[in-house]
Symmetry: D2
Subunit: 382 residues, 4 copies
């Protein structure tokens, strides 16, 4: 693995490294960790990277690595820069034959996402998008239960993602994370919806197996002086006729990272909350609700998609880094299978990719468009 | 207290009686408990009503009671019939000088509600509307904290009210509660929104102290064959610029009566859920969240509006009937004060009335109107 | 109903009245509400008692009431005085032909409890002991599930009852509740164990259907200057070989009234907590745990002992007063059946009585004895 | 890092490797992963170990590694074999100059533990004992708050550790984990108390800062046919006069790994549960309880011992593997500091060692001794 971005002053880069490290399948071998040469070098040193694979920009890295022998050069490139800087390194990497892992949202614009998908299709390379929350075992369990019809036809999807960390104008107070995320030039046309609304939308479609067909969005800038939405509520329509709501906010003061989803069908409902991710609550119309637990010993009641994404037995909680590591592990296994010429298991193939990225970018476009119109429903089309 | 409706085959009548009994301040003295004479008589007998005050219809009851001496006749009339049968007995009672307690929603149409309010203003009589959830001590605590500015300016209001009991076409399977609630002739122009959406809307305004100014509604009939909405999602705008969502459903399979509200301001947020009503969670932007408990011994940290609506010390849970009893007790105290010529305490005056009822009826009108239009925002006007 | 004790300065008397009022089956008709004549009169006036049935001591009340005609005199006497003042009025009432309801613990000494039981057996009158927590519907559900063998043979019983309200020497600071409860002359030979440990022991035996045969107690006085135990931990052995622990404290600073029980058998376990009394958690050895809810609509999965002790449908929480009211309602129904010469239903007969009271008094004796000896196990014998 | 035990058929070895991998500070360089040569070789291959550092027994490994140059040989040895096989490789490793990490309980007998401690003292090498639960950030926060006097003098410690996985005689049904843990020859003189009771005892002392001075134990074999205790309840006395209870069971059917601790002092109490490890509940005598969250942004309210053991911001749950990784990371940092000749930070030095291991072994001895005597209190002496 090579890495673009993620220097010692960044947040998500370290998360990616913890996740990639966890299973001993992936090794960081090179990096262009910062556009600031000093930070790039310092960060590389702290990560025990050799000097000759410490690069000062991604072009140099991709170029140099591509010249190394096959068994030696990085197997894939992870891109953990701000949104505006996803496309160029991703496209160059694909062009030079490298698989890529990209932080969400996939790109700065929907058009870029489409270009990347086309390139992926042309090259046959892998593109993985780190929609972390789909890596949780009980999210996968939820998805499989819906797929198996356990809840009957789905009627309702409520997904919410409140955070509180942008309740003040922190971007003016030296908070680097806040600064780029609220800057239209770096983040894109949406703030809150691009940053976390896309996670919520992905989760809703991932678990329900449905596609959003129409939406009606109310985006707000609650902190005056801010340039992008920090809050939004969206009515949803799905392709099977189900109705939904997506609520997302970064000014829900006192909330941490409270992603939660509820899905109701004819026979029952399910509830999953990221703050307690090892529990999946299944509510039945006329029987007691059940508490499904990751890693539990229920015979074959838990789906293989859940159990193969657990590392510990029930009651030994796994968290965010493990969910993230599942994305990496599944990607790595799929990649290994390709390199070995074997066939990856369906469970390994279960990581988000270019199609998810395009839907995410389209979601951003549509909520912004909807928020600016007087029309009630905006069609979700790609 | 006299009662219209609430015979032995009904649901909410018994609830009203438990609530009215609890504090020993109110006595059921007469009733027209059913339009079915046999049920009316049987029910009265089970409630130890004397035969001469067992009536077969409300006209007879109001007429007869009005002729009794002042100290002997009922002090007020409680109306617990289906929605379409609220207005007539209420108007007659007011005309004959009786105070009234009415189940929500106040009437069948907004116009009727306005007429009742006018009559209340003319007569100076009391009208109490049983929006039960505003009777919970920690709901009152929440309201007072918002009023005192503890959370700063309010930015977000999320209120949800999922039930699952109408997930099937129960109105065709002999469920009497389902039958009238889904019948436009008895329930009014909305089903779910009229029945429970009005509670959610009332709670949102009661706690936040704000008024809804605009809304955008998506009402659905999820169970085919049903005549009225059984589900709905509504975007809200409030008069201070806050944004909100109201979600309400009676097809959220597996949910009981899961009314829950979250309100966020500049400094923090609050969360209250009816399923665990003695807890109020206060979340702070940069300090640990706090768990406020009904009846707790925190010195004067709990508002008198909360403490005076508790009967037990902390850790002895009070529930739905106690919240309901608070409405009755506050109403009874206000009435007593009037009869005694004394001044009721502010806490006693805190029960819902005609203005709340009118806003509820307007809410129903507006969500139905909004749901039928292509326009995004519908103004909330009365 | 007549009442001894429970004047306006008392705590538990008001609780009894709320509970007795709730269902409209019981009416307070007379009282000797305080040994202070002024308080007795004031309290009676506030409760709308007629002057001629406002008594200044229990002897006078029992005497006078016994001379009233059968349909007019009180049907039973409720005794809500401190522990030392339970026996005399109870014995006199029984002697004069009145049924009695007594606050727990039943008496001041075990011997008194035995005398009362003998008198009850001789007279055929009813004696009800208000072990409130056994009145909760989900406690009854738990008991029935254990009885039906749902959990298999019981192996473990953990019951805990932490409170924090005696963390300071409040008895010296004008807290009347603290004063008598920590006074050996009024409370008896134990403080914490007598006051709340007895509830925990009763609950353990009530739910498990087992009897304690041996115990090993460690009682403590944690607040120096106090005369009676304010804390205690007890190892338990049951008659089927199960092991257990009973923990009880009134110096668990920050706890309210956190009675909780867990029972484990060969096939699964159950968990019930008084702070959220409408939920019964059932944990299975090899299947997902289930959440059973009071009032829920699961067909016949809930026992009639649970459903007949609910007043509201699922999701409308009932609490402490309703549990208390269940004791009164079942007592009243059993009494009515007797007066009518009919047979009370098994569910009505389910209220604690003299046998429970004797076991409670023996529990107090045994934990105090055990705490003072160097021997590990003390046999529980009566 | 070299590893003894932990082949592909084992449980805890994989956990150690995930934990050691996570931060990129530790690399597995050699292993004697099984006493079965085939499994040893297969496991090594799956872990990408070079053939020349794949060993078939620990003697060979320690011998060979000790001959490698300083920068190349393993820095420390991790021992993840069953209890009976801890001492020999640990002693040999220390004798050959290797630092060691050992799974708990430290050894098979107390005497062995003492020998290891003596050897550690003589050699100046590091010994780390993986009492995982002390690695959780909010456990460290709890410890620091008690140390700082936030709760006042400690009066009560309740620690419980129920599991249900040995509810059947699984050791006879091919469950390898069950087989050795219930075998006195491999596990030691206690089953449940040795396996998980030691964790609970360690946690109680770690958080409270107190030492157990006396205990009274009731150990049970609940599943007939089993050779060692599978359940136990223990009364505790601490060196400051506090009282406590330790409950531990492996037949609490339906429980996963539900370690939980509550500590009460004069001013308040704390509660921490392993199933939701990122939350620390602080209960106050006369103020609302507070919810402290790992990684939260409360200014300096969280101790550096908590914050330096977090990898993610609040709301991104960390779990069991991260707690485990904290033990490894702190050990690695302490080791690095030694190798670099620098001074480790106090936070890095915070990992369990030989003293903890000796107390754990003494705990096992004492609970077994106490359980077999008729005397109430057994003194805890080393």
């Amino acid at each position: 693995m090579g890495m673009v971005g993620g220097g010692k002053d960044a947040f998500i880069g370290a998360i990616h490294r913890h996740a990639a490290n966890m299973d001993g399948l992936i090794e960081l071998v090179c990096g262009a960790l910062s556009i600031n040469p000093e930070i790039a070098r310092d960060s590389a040193r702290m990560l025990f990277l050799p000097e000759n694979r410490t690069y000062l920009n991604y072009e140099e890295m991709i170029e140099s690595e591509s010249k190394l022998p096959a068994g030696e050069r990085m197997d894939f490139l992870t891109i953990v820069t701000p949104n505006f800087a996803h496309f160029d390194p991703a496209m160059l990497a694909l062009n030079k034959g490298f698989n890529v892992v990209i932080e969400k949202p996939m790109t700065f614009t929907l058009d870029q996402a489409k270009q990347l998908r086309q390139k992926v299709e042309e090259t046959g390379l892998l593109l993985c998008l780190t929609h972390t929350y789909s890596g949780y075992p009980m999210v996968k369990q939820a998805r499989q239960m819906v797929k198996d019809g356990a809840l009957g036809k789905i009627r309702k999807v409520w997904v919410e993602y409140p955070q509180g960390w942008l309740s003040k104008l922190s971007e003016r107070e030296g908070n680097a994370q806040a600064a780029w995320r609220t800057d239209p030039k770096k983040s894109g046309k949406s703030g809150c919806m691009g940053d976390i609304g896309t996670h919520a939308a992905h989760l809703a479609e991932y678990i329900s197996g449905l596609k959003i067909t129409h939406l009606c969005a109310d985006l707000n800038i609650m902190v005056s002086g801010r340039a992008l939405d920090d809050d939004g509520n969206v009515l949803l329509k799905f392709d099977n006729g189900a109705a939904g709501v997506l609520m997302s906010s970064q000014v829900a003061a006192g909330e941490e990272n409270a992603l939660k989803i509820r899905v109701y069908g004819e026979k029952g409902g399910l509830e999953w909350a990221q703050h307690e991710p090892n529990t999946l609550l299944i509510k039945w119309l006329d029987q007691p609700a059940q508490i499904l637990r990751a890693g539990a010993n229920y015979g074959d009641r838990l789906s293989s998609f859940a159990t193969l994404n657990c590392r510990t037995p029930g009651g030994h909680p796994e968290g965010y880094l493990e969910a993230f590591a599942n994305i990496y592990r599944n990607f790595a296994r799929t990649l290994s299978a390709r390199l070995d010429g074997t066939i990856a298991s369906p469970e390994s193939l279960d990581f988000p990719g270019a199609d998810d990225g395009i839907r995410g970018m389209a979601f951003i476009d549509h909520v912004v468009e909807s928020s600016q119109t007087d029309k009630k429903w905006t069609e979700f089309r790609i």
